[in-house]
Symmetry: C2
Subunit: 431 residues, 2 copies
């Protein structure tokens, strides 16, 4: 019988693993909750109405059409039996495996304040992105219809928590949305008066970047009109807004881009986990004591050598996926296994608004327009298929010249998203 390889998660890691197994004499099953592979690095552009979901997501079946040994299953995995070697799906079915690759990724963590999740939005899935888009656009629509100045101010205050790349990208893009795209579209409010606050508990945003890039990024954000608040921790998130250090900030919209937590695959295996819940893996990405099981990407904690785990970045997941795919292909073919996994750091980037970015390529750094050009080209290149590349390129070109956002859609299921009575929209006489 051909060995059965089950891969859980169709993100960068899982997809790379399936692809590396293309010619392996095995039955490969890719399980994911959704039917698509998502290009996460551009998800913030869906959340801010610049791109459509279909521009950055492609059906997994399409990507694996020519992978004759691969089967795609759209389902939720709820547990693993590492003894009997099967995974269990939410509907009770089980899928047996000889090799299991866990690539389930990470979710946002609220540092033990799970209740904050009721008031703060996160950005991981297409649904998250559409929900943020709806919240942002509805805030302006509701402010336009409101004649209580305090409430207008609260509606037009947008708080982004966490100064990593996603937080920086969101804050910069929201500022531009308010100051340019929406600027001339309302009659009662001035969207440009919106307050965008980026809160970072550390002393720098983009703390993982070297040299003066963090300071440059903070300056660039401030020039876009973002209030960058450093060194103060958020101590409360509730229906009214946040408390930052001791200051109460009334805000309708709170976006949470702070810590991440690996998805619960470590529990499934009862395996040793790092503090963020990621499974501690060996040098070949295998899970110690769980024969045939591997973990890659954000759900794995891989010792980078200096005692520091590798960061939760797309290239890490991709390279680990490819590595494990090749390792399994070699094992199945009876060839010698590859040497231990080594991460090849090709650089990291973060974009700040429509024309600036920072990029760290190890031996040299870029910032400003040149970094943004590099960022744009690299991301267009990395998109998985020709169609996405074309759609994103056309959208970007149009938006760059017009300052417009093509996906400003609120479907309005009968009414604008409403808040509790306490903050009900004041009546306004349009007469």
């Amino acid at each position: 019988m051909r060995p059965r390889i089950v891969i859980v998660g169709a993100g960068f890691g899982g997809m790379a693993a399936v692809k590396a197994l293309k010619r392996a004499d095995a039955d490969v099953t890719l399980i994911d909750r959704t039917n698509h592979h998502l290009f996460q690095p551009l998800l913030y552009q869906v959340a801010t109405a610049a791109l459509s979901p279909a521009d950055i997501a492609t059906a997994s079946r399409v990507l694996l059409r020519r992978h004759a040994n691969a089967t795609v299953v759209m389902a939720d995995v709820v547990s693993v039996d590492a003894e009997a070697r099967y995974v269990r799906l939410a509907d009770g079915r089980t899928i047996n495996y000889d090799f299991l690759v866990l690539a389930t990724g990470a979710a946002y963590s609220f540092f033990g304040h799970g209740e904050w999740a009721n008031h703060a939005k996160v950005l991981k899935s297409l649904e998250d992105a559409l929900s943020i888009r709806e919240t942002l656009l509805a805030a302006f629509e509701r402010a336009e219809q409101c004649n209580d100045p305090d409430e207008v101010r609260r509606l037009l205050t947008f708080v982004v928590v966490g100064g990593g790349p996603t937080g920086v990208e969101l804050a910069g893009t929201i500022a531009e949305l308010a100051r340019t795209t929406l600027a001339r579209d309302f009659r009662h409010i001035d969207p440009a008066s919106a307050r965008i606050i980026l809160c970072e508990a550390g002393n720098h945003i983009l703390g993982a970047f070297p040299g003066d890039l963090p300071d440059y990024a903070a300056r660039a954000l401030r020039s876009l009109g973002v209030e960058v608040r450093l060194g103060e921790a958020v101590s409360l998130v509730d229906a009214e807004g946040i408390v930052l250090a001791d200051e109460r900030i009334a805000a309708e919209t709170v976006l949470w881009c702070a810590g991440t937590q690996a998805r619960p695959a470590a529990d499934w295996l009862e395996a040793e986990a790092a503090r963020n819940g990621a499974i501690k893996v060996a040098a070949d990405c295998s899970v110690p004591g769980r024969p045939g099981v591997f973990a890659i990407g954000d759900v794995a904690s891989f010792d980078g050598g200096s005692g520091k785990p590798l960061p939760g970045l797309a290239p890490v997941a991709k390279q680990q996926g490819r590595y494990v795919g090749r390792l399994l292909a070699a094992r199945i073919a009876g060839r010698a296994p590859p040497p231990p996994f080594r991460y090849r750091d090709l650089g990291t980037m973060a974009v700040i608004g429509r024309s600036r970015a920072v990029a760290d390529f190890g031996s040299f750094q870029l910032k400003g327009f040149l970094a943004w050009l590099a960022w744009s080209m690299v991301h267009l290149m990395l998109l998985v298929d020709f169609r996405s590349r074309m759609m994103v390129y056309v959208n970007w070109s149009w938006a760059w010249f017009t300052y417009g956002r093509g996906a400003r859609l609120l479907t309005g299921r009968g009414e604008l998203p409403q808040r509790s009575q306490a903050t009900e929209i004041s009546s306004k006489d349009f007469g």
Copy 2:
């Protein structure tokens, strides 16, 4: 004080009215439940994963940016006081008017069988389209995981009720989705074996088209693999499928494109209505006995001259909107009112799959590839803004050459859309 003009509905009619009032010395308020103007004629392509919502919808504020006298309000109108001259919104606020233009459109009607709405999907809004897209794609995903042949057959049976343009367009496109786009993407099922049934109670599909166009359309659909059932009425729609004449057809997906019913604006006014609920209007589109009130588009019943009301088509709504806008502008400026409204029939078209269409231009007809070319060009031209035109063009070009559909997205809120226990997916051993 400047006259206050309130326009309800941002469809073809309402938007045309606002635009015709651009230079009028009046305060114009456009009220809509959503924040966008939707290009309905291409909505079926969103429902079948060919286009994204943002490709055919544009924020009303963007379209009216340069209309200094226009205010956009995103809200639900629930009633009209034609005496005191105000409209009431769902949240209790009121908006006063001197002139009111009702352009609220129509919804689908189930001929007195409201309960069928629980099992059949309609196509009017972006949300409807996304819901149909999800249902279609999920049916194939669930069939792939199912090993009960009867249930697979039921999942892969798609019933479209109503042989008008929308029904024909949906049936043809679903057939192509199954036979080409999805054909190579599954391992356990053959999507090409899907059964697509178009039911029309009359003796012809596209009954409004002259000459041999209806017969040609039926032949064209059949060549795409659609079962065209004529002269039999649907007598039941339930969770299992439909009953057509006396035949029980088990189907997971039922799409309802049969009769339409005007939205309840006639009730708001207690005005005289036609059988489909549309407000009977005078020769200048005004509502008799309701001074200052006009009704246009699908919510109006306008005597076309021969005792037959004008059809519910986009051009009718557009021309009536422009007419009423100009009439009001003239009245406000103290100029002579225009002569009674006359519909200029520029022709009608319906498309059948990716390369064929029928078109009736009154003095001559087209069918086949040439009609499809005309259809494509006219619809690209009619899209309201440059961006939509560009996005649709790029999407179409890509799809035409690859047979692909770019928007094959299922977000999977935890699980596939599930049916009741009676039709639970059988367990399948993937081992």
